[in-house]
Amino acid sequence: MTLILALVVGGLYAAGLYMMLRRSLIKILLGLALLSHGANLLIFTAGGLTRTHAPLLPSEGALTLAQSADPLPQALILTAIVISFAVLVFALALFRKTYETAQSDDVDLVKTEDEES
């Protein structure tokens, strides 16, 4: 399972980086999204995959640490998802505004005037 997830994470990073190298703004945005998904999945995998109980204290009987999954990576991912969602939405708005002002989604055509001169 770890191997499969590792391959998926690698695939997401590769696809994300490839998309970010493209000139189209929307592809850059998709690349960023893939990259953050890859990072989230990586935290999940690196935190250790265990087929055990949820990390909740049962009403009777004690649950040892070894018997339960690690809740922290999931908390981290939840935070990271919220952050990356907010940031991506901002990036989307920025890219749309850029598209409107520059009338192009090609990064090479969106240049500042001092670069053009």
Partner: protein
């Protein structure tokens, strides 16, 4: 309490500003008042830390490493103080330096949220929490960068946003791998865990952190977003960014390498040193070709980051103390230069050096203040820039890094040449035809610049006691045992 106030004060101010979104005068008043309280708080914090060594606060009384801790040492306290100072000066400058449209669209709340993120990053003792503060300051900076919506701003903001988001993804990756390795994210606990793992297995994580923070710090070869973006927003925003944002990146490099990877960092040091040298050279050479005042200063910012990286690259107490001294000096100097640039551009109606002229006659006081800041940047004795570079050079010599020292000296010379270019074009050159004298410079624009130059001169006068403080901070940084003991891990 002192430890969370640097975050709570600007947060409360930002929230109050958002409630009364249309009352711009109130925004200005609140931001000024908040920054003054912040400055007093930071001064008090610094005095306490000087006395106590470390102040630690477990948030929500959860003991470390289970909860998030805030830790303040002398270096953090110095950086929080500088943040408050720059925040206050930019708040004053922006009264006349930022247009009404930007103010109406939330300029002041954004500046306050930026201060929240920067202070949080300086004070946290938890790696994932550091990531969260980075995102807080990044999102505020994204909006500040693109606020106004001019086409050239958009072009700059795209590069800035894309590369910084990529850096965040890398930071998250590195933090995830480190968590998988050590099972903790508390920096003191991580430092303990890293001591037991063999150094060669750490190299991957170290390089991931160096890349992630290197993008934020504008290190070679990851700095191209900076000169592409920093000259596009109003000068008040550029000055704020130049004083704080790249410095947070350098702070993170220093903190993570000194504390978490304190043992077993040797293999990474040559990489940092080579990158430091390349950052200095490419920055200053990039500036040679520039004739836009703001772009020229942006390239110099990159080159100064190289000097800062000598500290973590040599990893000796003397080099760290030099880097901390340099950090404080460069925050003052660079902000002063950007503010001077803003006033000059306002007087001349252009930032193109070829079109600028006669500022020496138009405003002798501006010329004098520019000379102080530019001289300090280039390292003219007896200004603090000279001593900052001297300490770094001495540290490089004592480690036998002669090539690095030679690069630092050559770059210093080229910086002087570059400042001379600005002086000749904008200040010395007379106007092609007589122009109507510009009106007096508004007090709110000139006073922050006067304060900054006064502080630069004070740093000249009290260089020795200040260097003592820097040496204490550096010794503390390199003594991870003290930090770990102060956090009091409940293992």
């Amino acid at each position: 309490m002192l430890l969370v106030l640097p975050i709570i004060i600007p947060l409360v101010i930002a929230a109050s500003c958002l409630i009364a979104l249309r009352r711009i005068v109130l925004h200005q008043f609140l931001t000024l008042a908040g920054c003054i309280v912040l400055l007093a708080n930071a001064a008090l914090l610094f005095m306490r830390v000087r006395h106590a060594g470390y102040i630690v606060l477990p948030i929500g009384s959860w003991p470390a490493p289970f909860g998030i801790v805030f830790v303040c040492d002398v270096f953090s306290a110095m950086m929080v103080f500088m943040t408050a100072l720059i925040g206050l000066l930019i708040a004053i400058y922006s009264i006349a330096g930022v247009d009404a449209a930007r103010k109406a669209h939330g300029f002041y709340p954004l500046v306050n949220i930026l201060l929240v993120g920067v202070n949080g990053a300086f004070l946290t003792g938890d790696l994932f929490n550091l990531y969260v503060w980075f995102e807080v300051l990044l999102i505020a900076s994204f909006v500040l960068m693109s606020l106004g919506g001019e086409r050239r701003q958009m072009a700059g903001a795209i590069k800035y946003v894309t590369l910084n988001l990529m850096s965040s993804a890398l930071f998250l990756t590195a933090a995830g791998i480190l968590y998988g390795k050590a099972g903790t994210l508390n920096m003191a606990h991580l430092a303990l865990a890293m001591r037991e793992s063999p150094p060669e297995t750490l190299m991957v994580v170290e390089m991931l952190f160096l890349t992630a923070f290197g993008i934020k710090a504008a290190m070679f070869p990851l700095f191209f977003w900076l000169p592409a973006a920093y000259h596009t927003p109003p000068v008040a925003v550029t000055a704020l960014f130049s004083a704080l944002l790249t410095k947070v990146g350098v702070y993170a490099i220093i903190r993570v390498f000194a504390l978490v990877f304190g043992h077993g960092v040797e293999a990474a040091l040559p990489v940092i040193l080579v990158l430091a040298g390349m950052t200095m050279i490419t920055g200053v050479l990039g500036a040679v070709d520039q004739y836009d005042f703001r772009r020229l200063l942006s390239f110099h910012m990159v080159s100064q980051i190289g000097y800062l990286l000598i500290g973590p690259g040599l990893f000796t107490p003397a080099a760290m103390a030099g880097a901390i001294f340099f950090m404080i000096h460069i925050i003052l100097t660079k902000t002063a230069l950007f503010l001077a640039c803003g006033i000059a551009g306002r007087l001349n109606g252009s930032f193109q050096l070829k079109e600028m002229h006669g500022l020496l006659r138009a405003s002798p006081i501006l010329a004098a203040l520019f000379l102080i800041a530019a001289g300090s940047l280039a390292g003219v004795p007896p200004l603090p820039g000279f001593f900052a570079k001297l300490f770094l050079l001495l540290a490089a010599f004592s480690e036998g890094r002669y090539a690095l020292a030679a690069v630092a000296l050559a770059v210093s010379f080229l910086t002087f040449f570059s400042m001379l270019k600005i002086w000749n074009e904008a200040f010395w050159k007379t106007a092609p035809q007589p122009v109507a004298p510009a009106g007096p410079i508004p007090f709110s624009l000139l006073s922050p610049l006067v304060v900054l130059c006064a502080l630069i001169l004070l740093l000249t006068l009290f260089g020795h006691p200040f260097h003592e403080v820097c040496r204490t901070a550096a010794a503390q940084l390199l003594n991870s045992d003290g930090y770990i003991a102060a956090v009091r891990l409940q293992l």
